[in-house]
C-alpha cells in the first residue's frame, strides 16, 4: 500500500525570485511563534495572552520600546561584526571577547585616565569610541594574524580568546579597579556617559525614564558603513571574492593573508564598539557580565539576517525584544525557547531556497518486466 500523494523535492535550477529569501525568513519567524504557542498551550497557558503580554512588554509603550532597542544596540554591532567576517568565510566566534576587550579599552580612558578627568564630554566620548574599537581590533588581530601566518583555525582561537578577555576584565574589576571590594569599578564621571533621552526629561517630559542612548546611532551608522564597504568599495569586492572562491582570488592577484588580518580587525573593532557602548551607555562602569552572551547571539543575528547589514538591525531588534520579554515573563526560559525555535525555523527554511517542494500524486505501481 503506497501513500497516494508523495512529496517531491527538487533542486532549484532557476533563479529564485528576489522576494523569496525575505518571505521565508518572515514566514519562519511566524512559524516559530506558532510552534511556541502550541508548547505554551500544552503547559496550560493561553498563548494569545502570553504574546499580547510579550508585545506590551517590548513594543507596547515608549519606555518598553526603548528598553528593547537598548538591548538590540549591542546586538546590532556584534551582528555586523560577525556578518563582515562570515562574508569572507572567516568564522569569528570571538565577538564576545572582542566586546569585552572593547569595553576594557574604552574604560581605560576614564580609569587610567587617558584624558584629564575635566576634559569636555565630546573629547572623552571620542577617545572611548576610538579606544573601544582599538581594543576589539587587537582581539581580532591576534587570531587573524595566527591564521594568516600559521593557518591556525580561527574558530578555536577566537573561541578561546573569549575566555581570556573575560578573565582579563575580571582581573581589573576584582583587583586593580575594584570599587570598595565589589566586582565593579567606580561609576564613570558623567562626561563619560553616552547621552540618553532621559537626560532631556526636564525639557521634554515625555523622555522621562527613557534610557535609549546614543549607542543605537553608532549601530545604525556602523550598518551603513558595513553596507557601503561590502557592496560599494574595492575592499568589499575583495572580501566577497575571497569568501566565494579563495583560489580564484589568489589567481586574481589578491593578498589573502593581508585581508584575513584586516577583516578580523574590522570585525573585532565593530564588536569592540559594542563593548564601549555598553559601558558608556548602559552600566557606566566596567563590571562583571557586561554582556550576557551578546557576542554569541550576534552569530545567530548575522546568520538569520543572511549577512545583510540592514537585516541585521531588524533581527537584532527581534532578539532584543526576546531578551526584554524574558525578564517580564515567568519562567524566563520561554523567551529562550522562542529564540531557539526562531533559529531552528530560519535555518530549516533554507531548504525552501535551495529546493522546490511540491505534492504529486504517486505513480501507479508498475512491475518491471
Amino acid at each position: 500500500m503506497r501513500f497516494p500523494v508523495t512529496l517531491l523535492i527538487e533542486k532549484r535550477t532557476d533563479e529564485i525570485p528576489g522576494w523569496l529569501p525575505a518571505a521565508t525568513s518572515i514566514g519562519s519567524v511566524i512559524a516559530a511563534f506558532v510552534v511556541s504557542g502550541v508548547v505554551l498551550a500544552l503547559i496550560g497557558a493561553n498563548p494569545l495572552i502570553v504574546y499580547q503580554f510579550f508585545f506590551k512588554a517590548t513594543f507596547g509603550s515608549w519606555p518598553a520600546l526603548s528598553d528593547t532597542i537598548v538591548k538590540a544596540t549591542p546586538l546590532i554591532m556584534v551582528g555586523l561584526a560577525c556578518a563582515v567576517a562570515f562574508k569572507m568565510k572567516l568564522w569569528n566566534i570571538g565577538a564576545e571577547g572582542q566586546l569585552y576587550l572593547g569595553a576594557f579599552f574604552a574604560s581605560t580612558v576614564v580609569l587610567v585616565p587617558l584624558v584629564p578627568p575635566e576634559s569636555p564630554k565630546w573629547l572623552v566620548l571620542t577617545a572611548m569610541v576610538v579606544m573601544g574599537m582599538i581594543g576589539g581590533a587587537i582581539w581580532g588581530f591576534i587570531p587573524g594574524y595566527l591564521k594568516a601566518k600559521f593557518d591556525v583555525n580561527e574558530i578555536i582561537s577566537t573561541l578561546m580568546l573569549n575566555y581570556v578577555a573575560i578573565l582579563w576584565n575580571n582581573f581589573w574589576i576584582f583587583d586593580r579597579w575594584s570599587d570598595a571590594g565589589f566586582q565593579m569599578t567606580p561609576t564613570f564621571v558623567r562626561t563619560a556617559w553616552l547621552p540618553r533621552l532621559s537626560d532631556y526629561a526636564r525639557e521634554y517630559r515625555m523622555f522621562s525614564g527613557i534610557t535609549l542612548h546614543l549607542g543605537v546611532i553608532f549601530g545604525l551608522v556602523a550598518a551603513i558603513v558595513v553596507w557601503w564597504v561590502l557592496s560599494r568599495s574595492r575592499w568589499g569586492y575583495e572580501i566577497r571574492l575571497i569568501g566565494d572562491n579563495p583560489h580564484a582570488a589568489r589567481y586574481a592577484g589578491l593578498n589573502i593573508a593581508r585581508n584575513v588580518v584586516l577583516v578580523m580587525m574590522f570585525s573585532g573593532a565593530l564588536a569592540g564598539l559594542a563593548g564601549m557602548s555598553e559601558v558608556s551607555g548602559v552600566v557606566h562602569r566596567l563590571q562583571e557580565r557586561i554582556s550576557p552572551g551578546y557576542g554569541f547571539t550576534g552569530i545567530i543575528v548575522a546568520w538569520l539576517a543572511k549577512l545583510n547589514p540592514f537585516a541585521v538591525i531588524l533581527v537584532a531588534i527581534l532578539f532584543g525584544a526576546l531578551i526584554v520579554a524574558g525578564r517580564e515573563v515567568q519562567p524566563s526560559g520561554i523567551s529562550q525557547m522562542i529564540q531557539g525555535f526562531v533559529l531552528f525555523a530560519v535555518i530549516s527554511s533554507d531548504v525552501l531556497l535551495r529546493y522546490s517542494i511540491r505534492l504529486v500524486r504517486a505513480a501507479p505501481v508498475e512491475e518491471s518486466a
Binding site: 560599494r232 574595492r234 583560489h247 589567481y251 505513480a363 518491471s368
Partner: protein, 507 residues
Amino acid sequence: MPDAPFAVQMENIVIRFPGVLANDHVNFTLKQGEIHALLGENGAGKSTLMSALSGLYKPTSGIIRVSGKPVSFNSPKDAIAAGIGMVHQHFMLVPTQTVTENILLGLDTPRFFMNLPAYDGKVLALQEQFGLRVDPTAKIWQLSVGEQQRVEILKTLYRGANVLIFDEPTAVLAPAEIAGFIETMRSLVAQGKSIIFISHKLQEVEAVADRITVLRKGKVTAEGFLMAGLDRAKLAQLMVGRDVVFAVKKDVQEPGGTILEVRNLQAANNKGTPALRGVDLSIRAGEILGIAGVAGNGQSELAECITGLRVCEKGSVQVDGRELANQPPIAAIQSGVSHIPEDRTRVGSAPNLTITDNVIMKHYRAAPIGNGRTIDAGQATQYAQELKRTYDILAPSVRTLARKLSGGNLQKVILSREITANPRLIVAVQPTRGLDVGAVEAIQEHLLAQRRQGTAILLISEELEELLTLSDRIAVLYDGRVMGVAEAATASVEEIGLMMMGTVQEA
C-alpha cells in the same frame, strides 16, 4: 538491429524552465542494443532531456515509454527501477570506501551486517560478464579516473540497468583510457544493453555510434540518423547550424622580440615530488608555443610557475626581462601575463558572484572600474555588457551568477576577461577542453587574433590536432623535461607522439 524493438521512446517532450524552453517537442528513440549518440552544443538541451529520462525532472508535457510502456518518473529511484541508469560526468563515489561498498551504497540489501566478501564475489561476477575489471576491495581513492568510471558503470549495472546514459564520459579520461572505454561500450551492447552516449568529440561519435540525434537550441535537428553515411563536417553543421571550419586559418607571420624566457625551471607538484626538472623555453611576440605531453608530465606546474601560483625551486621566469619566479601572482598580472586556467570553476571564476563581478576580477583596481577606494558599479556593468555582446556570452543578463553558466559560456567569460587586459603573454591551459565545436572554434579564433596583435601565447593542450593547427612551434614535455621542440608546420603526429612517450629527438 534496424528493426530491433525500442528500449526507450520519448515523444514530443517539452521541458520549460522559467524564461527558457529547454526542450521544444523533442522526439528521441533508443533501440534495444544500439549505441545512440546525443549531440549538441552546450546548452542545447541534451542534459535536460536526459535528466527527464533519468527521473531528475518531470517534462512539462510529452510521453516517455520504456520498453513500450508509458512511464512517469517522480525521482531517479523510479528511473532506476525501470532499468535506466545514468553515469554522470562527475563521479558520485565515496573516496574512502571500497569498490563494493560504493556499489552497495543506498541499496536495501545488505541490511545491517554487510558480509562484504560475499558481495565482492557478486561484483566480480558482474565484472566478468561485462569485462570491467576493478579490484572490488580497493578503495576509490587508490583508483585511476578510468577505473573510477568503471565503478560508476558497475553501480548502474548492479542496479539492473538495461539502458545506460553516459554524460560526456570521455571528457575526464586520458587518451589511452578512451580506447578502453570505447571497448567497454561495445561489450555492453554485445550483452544486450542499450547506450545513450552524450559527447562533443566527433571522432569518438564517428567511431562508436550506430545512430545519432542532434539537438540545437532545444529542438531536434537530426532525429535518429544512421551514423553510416554521415561525416564529421555534416555532424558539426547539424550541431552548430552552419558550416564549421575545422582548421581555423593561421596566417604566416614573422614573430617579434622575445617576451617569455624560462631558464632551468624546477618545481615540485602538490605531493612534493619533482614535477619540473629544468625546463627551458622562450616565446616571441606574435608566436604560439604549444606544449604537448601526456597529462601529469609537468604542464600544470609550468603554467602555475609562470603565473606566480606555484613556488619555483630553481631557475628563472622572465617576461620582458622582468623576473617573475616566486613573485606573488599580482606581479605576473602587472607584467601583462594573462592566464586561462585549467580549472575554470575552481580557479578561473567565483561561482556565486555575478558575471560582472567575475569579469572585473583583474580590472577592478584601475580606472575606469576602480575609482579610488570604490568600484564604479555603472562602469563595471557597462564593461560586462560590452564583453557579453562582443564575446557572445549566452546568459539572461550580466547579473547572472557564474555557476549558472554552461562550460562554454563560462570559458568565454574567462577568456574575455583575460584578453581585454591587453596581455603581453597569455598562458592558456586546456582552453577548449569539454567545449562544443562552436565554442572551440570561437576560442581558437580569439587566440589567433591575439597572435596577430603580437601577443606571445603559451598553449598547453592534450589535443594534438589543436596544437598542430594553432601553434607555431610545439614543445613536448615528458617527466618534467622538454623532450624536443618541433616546428608545427613540418611536425608529424608520429614524431610528437614518440617524444610524448619519452623518446629523445634531435632538437
